[in-house]
C-alpha cells in the first residue's frame, strides 16, 4: 500500500514527468530516468530567507537527498520571512533547525545539515553533489563557491560538471542565474553587476558632515576607534549600536543635522538590505524550478542560452530573461590576461587600493607579482614585512615596471583565483 500511497502523493509531478510536452518532446521518460531524481544529490548553500524556501521547494519537487550548509544562528529579525523557524529557535543553528523541520514535514526525504562555512570543506566534499543551489547574501561566498566549482571541472569526466543555481534578493527585486561551469558565464564574469558602494570621503566624515549617514559613519569609523568603548565592535550587540547611535546623534546635533535614528544607525553600520517573504518565495521558486528542469529534462531550462532572470516588483512586475556573455579574460573561467591601464606615477599602495573598488575585482587584501617577481604579499608575515617597503614606491621610476609587463594579483579570500593583467601606462 505504501507504494500506491507514494504514487498518489506525487501524481501531479509525475503526470508532468511521464508525459513530455510540446517543448521537450525528446526528453527521457523511462522508469530509470524517473527513478534517478531520488538519487540526485543536491547541495543547498544558505538556510536563510532563500534557503528555507529552497529546502521546501526541493522537497516538494521530488529531490530526496539534500545537504545544507549555513554557519549562522537564528535571529529574531529572521522570523518575518524564514518560515521554518519559530521564536523558540532563536539562537540555534539555521541549517540544523531548517533540515529537521522539512524532514519532519515531508516524509521520505533526507536532509543533512552542516553548521559551518563553505570554506571549511574541500573539493572532495563538493564532488559528491550533482547540483548546487545557492541562497546567499554574501558576494564573497558566491565568488568562492563559483571558483571552486569551475576549478573542479575535468573535461574528461562529465560528472565533474556541477550546475550552480544562484538566487539573490533585495527588497522587491531579485535574480536567478544558472551557471554551468566552463560552459556558461560564471559568477566572476558577471562580478561587475555588483558595483561596490561608493565610500564617503574621510574628510567629509571628519570635518564637514551633511547627512545623518555621515554622522553615523563618523561614529562607526572614527569615534569608535578613538574611544574604544568596548574591546571589539559587535554589530549585533544592541549596547554597541546604542553607543554609536548616541555618538552620531550628538554629532548631528552639533552640526544641526536631522534624521539620525536607531534604525538608521543599525542599517548603516550593518549595511542592512531590506528583505521580505514574498520576494524570497519568488526567487527561491525560480531557482528550484530550474533545478528540477535540469535534473529531469521535463522542460527546457535556463543555462546554455539565456541564463539570467531578473525580477523587479516595485513598479508593476517586470522580468527580463537574457543571455549573458562569457568573458575570455575572466580570472576564473577564462584565463586570458586583461589590459590594466594605470598612471605610472602612482605608488604600489595606490594601485592595490584601487583593486578594492574596481567593479570586476573587489579585492580587500590583494597580493601582487610582476614578471614573476613578488612586489607585495599579504602572507606570511615575514614576506609581508620584506615587501612592505615597496608599497610607497612608484610603479615606473621606483619599481621599474613598464607597459607590456605581466601582472598577477591574488587574494587570500579566493585562493584559487589569479587575476592576470598586461600593464599599460596611461601617460608618460
Amino acid at each position: 500500500m505504501a507504494d500506491s500511497n507514494e504514487t498518489r502523493r506525487w501524481q501531479y509531478l509525475d503526470q508532468i514527468r511521464r508525459n513530455p510536452g510540446p517543448f521537450n518532446q525528446d526528453s527521457d521518460v523511462s522508469e530509470e530516468a524517473l527513478q534517478a531524481l531520488g538519487q540526485h544529490k543536491v547541495l543547498v548553500i544558505g538556510a536563510g530567507g532563500l534557503g528555507c524556501e529552497i529546502l521546501k521547494n526541493l522537497a516538494l519537487s521530488g529531490f530526496k537527498n539534500i545537504d545544507v550548509i549555513d554557519m549562522d544562528t537564528i535571529d529574531i529579525s529572521n522570523l518575518n520571512r524564514q518560515f521554518l523557524f519559530r521564536k523558540d529557535d532563536v539562537g540555534k543553528y539555521k541549517a540544523e533547525v531548517a533540515a529537521a523541520f522539512v524532514e519532519k514535514r515531508v516524509k521520505g526525504i533526507k536532509i543533512t545539515p552542516h553548521n559551518c562555512r563553505i570554506q571549511d570543506f574541500d573539493e572532495d566534499f563538493y564532488k559528491q553533489f550533482q547540483l548546487v543551489v545557492c541562497g546567499l547574501d554574501s558576494i564573497e561566498a558566491r565568488r568562492w563557491i563559483n571558483a571552486t566549482l569551475v576549478n573542479m571541472v575535468d573535461m574528461d569526466d562529465s560528472d565533474s560538471l556541477k550546475p550552480l543555481i544562484d538566487g539573490g534578493t533585495e527588497g522587491f527585486k531579485g535574480q536567478t542565474r544558472v551557471i554551468i561551469p566552463t560552459l556558461t558565464p560564471c559568477i566572476e564574469c558577471q562580478l561587475d553587476l555588483y558595483t561596490p558602494r561608493a565610500a564617503v570621503p574621510l574628510c567629509t566624515l571628519a570635518t564637514i558632515p551633511r547627512q545623518p549617514e555621515h554622522c553615523i559613519e563618523w561614529a562607526h569609523i572614527i569615534a569608535w576607534d578613538q574611544e574604544k568603548p568596548f574591546p571589539d565592535l559587535d554589530k549585533d550587540d544592541p549596547e554597541h549600536i546604542t553607543w554609536l547611535y548616541q555618538k552620531a546623534s550628538a554629532r548631528a546635533q552639533e552640526f544641526g543635522i536631522t534624521g539620525v535614528t536607531y534604525s538608521l544607525t543599525q542599517g548603516v553600520v550593518k549595511n542592512i538590505i531590506p528583505a521580505i517573504a514574498s520576494t524570497n518565495a519568488i526567487i527561491a521558486a525560480s531557482c528550484c524550478n530550474e533545478a528540477l528542469k535540469i535534473a529531469t529534462t521535463i522542460a527546457p531550462s535556463l543555462g546554455l542560452e539565456e541564463s539570467y532572470m531578473m525580477y523587479s516588483g516595485d513598479d508593476s512586475i517586470y522580468t527580463s530573461t537574457f543571455k549573458y556573455d562569457r568573458k575570455p579574460d575572466c580570472p576564473v573561467c577564462g584565463g586570458a590576461a586583461k589590459p590594466l591601464a594605470v598612471d605610472p606615477g602612482i605608488t604600489l599602495r595606490e594601485l592595490l587600493d584601487s583593486f578594492a573598488v574596481k567593479p570586476d575585482m573587489q579585492l580587500k587584501k590583494p597580493s601582487i607579482r610582476a614578471n614573476n617577481k613578488t612586489l607585495y604579499m599579504q602572507f606570511p608575515p615575514s614576506i609581508e614585512a620584506q615587501t612592505r617597503p615597496n608599497l610607497d614606491k612608484t610603479l615606473k621610476t621606483d619599481l621599474g615596471l613598464d607597459t607590456g609587463h605581466e601582472i598577477a594579483v591574488t587574494d587570500p579570500a579566493f585562493p584559487t583565483i589569479t587575476f592576470n593583467f598586461i600593464l599599460s601606462f596611461t601617460s608618460t
Binding site: 501531479y12 503526470q15 524556501e53 516538494l60 529574531i76 520571512r81 551633511r210 522542460a299
Partner: protein, 638 residues
Amino acid sequence: MFDNGGYFCCESGQVGYNLRNTNGFKVSGVHIFHRLKRNANPSHATPSILYHVHVVAIGRANEYFLDGIISDISNILTGNEQYNPWGHSGLVYLVLSHLPPGGATRRRNSMAEIVVNQTPPVLQGPTEKEKKYDRQLRLWAASGQAALESANILLINSGAGTVGIETLKNLVLPGIGKFVIADDAIVNEADLGVNFFLDHSCLGRSRSECCTKLLLELNPEERLDLQHVLDSSGPFTLIMHTNPIRQEDLATVEAHASQRQTPVVCIHSAGFYSYFRFNLHGTFPIVDTHPEVEKTTDLRLLQPWPELSAFAKEMVERIDALEDHEHGHLPYVVILLHFLEQWRQLHDGKNPTTLKEKKEFSKLVLSGARTNNPEGGEENFQEAVDAINKNIKVPELAPELEEVFNHQTSSEVELRSSFWAVAKAINLFHQKHGCLPLPGSLPDMKAQSNVYVKLQSIYKEKARRDAREVLESARQIDGGEHVDPAEVDLFCKNARFVKLINAKPRDSDLGQIFDTEKANDEAAEAMKIETGGAFSLPSSNFFVYLALKATAHNPTATSGEIMNTITQLIPHAAEYERMQQIAEEVARARGGELHNISAFTGGMVAQEVIKIITKQYIPIDDTCIFDGISSRCQVLRL
C-alpha cells in the same frame, strides 16, 4: 533635540505624556512624529491604555495643528473613533510650538491635557516587534505595517490547492491581521506531494482547517478564524480565489465583491504556467509610489524663490575674494544659480535650453573653477557641471499626474476621498503658480556643514509653505474637510510620481489583443532570424492566459477541448501553431500544480496584495502571466 521615546497614557479622556529629551527643549521649528502602539498596561491600577510614543523626526511648529491633534487623540482614546484622521496608519503627528527652552510646559484645552516633563534620557532600543519586522519596515514603514495588520483576507481555495496557500504564507509572515480559507476539499495523498502546509496527520481531514492551523504556526500573533461564509467573516480587505472554480461560486464571489467594492484576485496555476488577475472596482490612486531617489531631485534652478535667490546671491557676492577653502565648498546649487544669472545677462534674459547652449553653459561654469591647486580644478564645480542636464530644464507635467488632474471624479467613493480633494488642490496650486509644490529634499553635495544645513532648511521651509497652501485649499474642497496634514505633505512630496491604477476602461476585445500579441511574436521571430540570434524579444504570454482560462471550470480539459473553448471566442486562434502548443502544454498538467510554479506565483500575488493593502509601490494593472518554461512574466491589461 528629542530623539528617544516617552510614554503616552490616557484615562477617562485625558491625555498626558512624558517626552524625554537629551538636551532640554530646543523646539525652534519643531515637528515631532510619534508612533503610537497600543499596549496593555499592567502597572496602572485602573484600566487604561498605554501608548508607547517613539519620536522619529523633528520639524516645524504650528499652533493650529496642535489643537486639532489634541482633540483627535482624545477622540481615539475615548473610543470615539468616528473621526480618525490617521485611519489605519497608526501615525500621529504632534506639533509643539514655542516651548520655553529647558522648561516644562503645560497646555489645556477643553478635551485634553498635555503635560510635558523634562526627564533624564532613557535608552529606547527597538521593541520585539520592531526587531522581528525590521527588514520589511525598511520598505513600507510603520504606516504600511499597520495597514497590513488591519487587513482581513479571504482565500477561496480549490483544485490542487497550493498556489493560494503559498500566497497566504507570504502574507502571514509579514503579519496580515486576519485570514479565512474557504475550501471544501478533504486532504488526500496528492496534497502532501505539493502542499507544504499539510502533513501526514492531515489525511482525510478538512484541507482549509489543516492549512490554517499550520499557517498560524508561522505567526502566532495571527487570529484563528474558520468561518467559511462570506458574510459572517467579513468585511474583507481583499478576496483571493483560485481556479478551477465552480461557475456559481464565481458568480457569488463577484456579486459580493462588487457590492462592497472589495478587490478580488483570481489565481490560476497549472503545470509550468500561471496567471493572476486583479479586479479593483474603480480607480486606484497611489501617492507613496517609492520612486528611485535619484529621480526625485527637484531644485527649481529656473524658478528660484526669493529666499533661495537671496541666499545664493549673498554667498557669491564677492566670489573672487573668497578663500580657496570656501570657494571649493560653494554648493553646486549656488554655483549654478550664479552662472545662470550671468548667462541670462549675456543672452537677453533667456536660460540655456538647447543641447548646444547647455554645452556652452558647462564651459562657462567650469571657467569659474580655480585651477591653481594640485587637483587642477574644484570638485564642487565638477558636481555643478554634472548636474546641468538633469536640473536645468523647465519641468513638464508627468503624464500620470496629468491623468490625475484631468480625471472627472464621479463615484460617491471618489467624491468622499481625500485623495481627490488634495489632487484638486494641487491642480489649483499648479494653475496659480505654474509649478508643483516643492518636494523640499536636497541631495548631498560638496559643501560646508553649516552652509548645507542652511540651504537644506531653505528648501524645506519652501516645501512646508507650499504644503500649507495646498492644505488650506484642500480643506475648502468636498472630501477634503478633514484631510490629514500628513497626507498633504506626502502628496506634495510625491506629486510628480503619483499614479492611477485601473483608470482606463478595460479592453474586452480578446480577438484584437490576440492579433496584436501574435504580431509581436512574429516580429520577435523575424528579429531573431535577422540578427542571427544576437537580439531577441520575448514571446507573448497572452496565449498562456487564454489556454489556462479555458480550463477555469474544467481543469482536466484536453488540448482539443481547450482549443474549442478558445476558438469560440477567437475563431482564427486555431491557425496559430504556438497557441496549439501552449494548449497542449496546459493539457499536459491535467490541472495539477507544480510546487515551484505555485510558490513563484504565490510570491508574486503576495507582493501585489501587500502593495494594494499598504497603498505603497505600484501594483500591476491588471493581469500577470507567468511562463515557467522560459522563466518570464508579462503584465497585460485584459
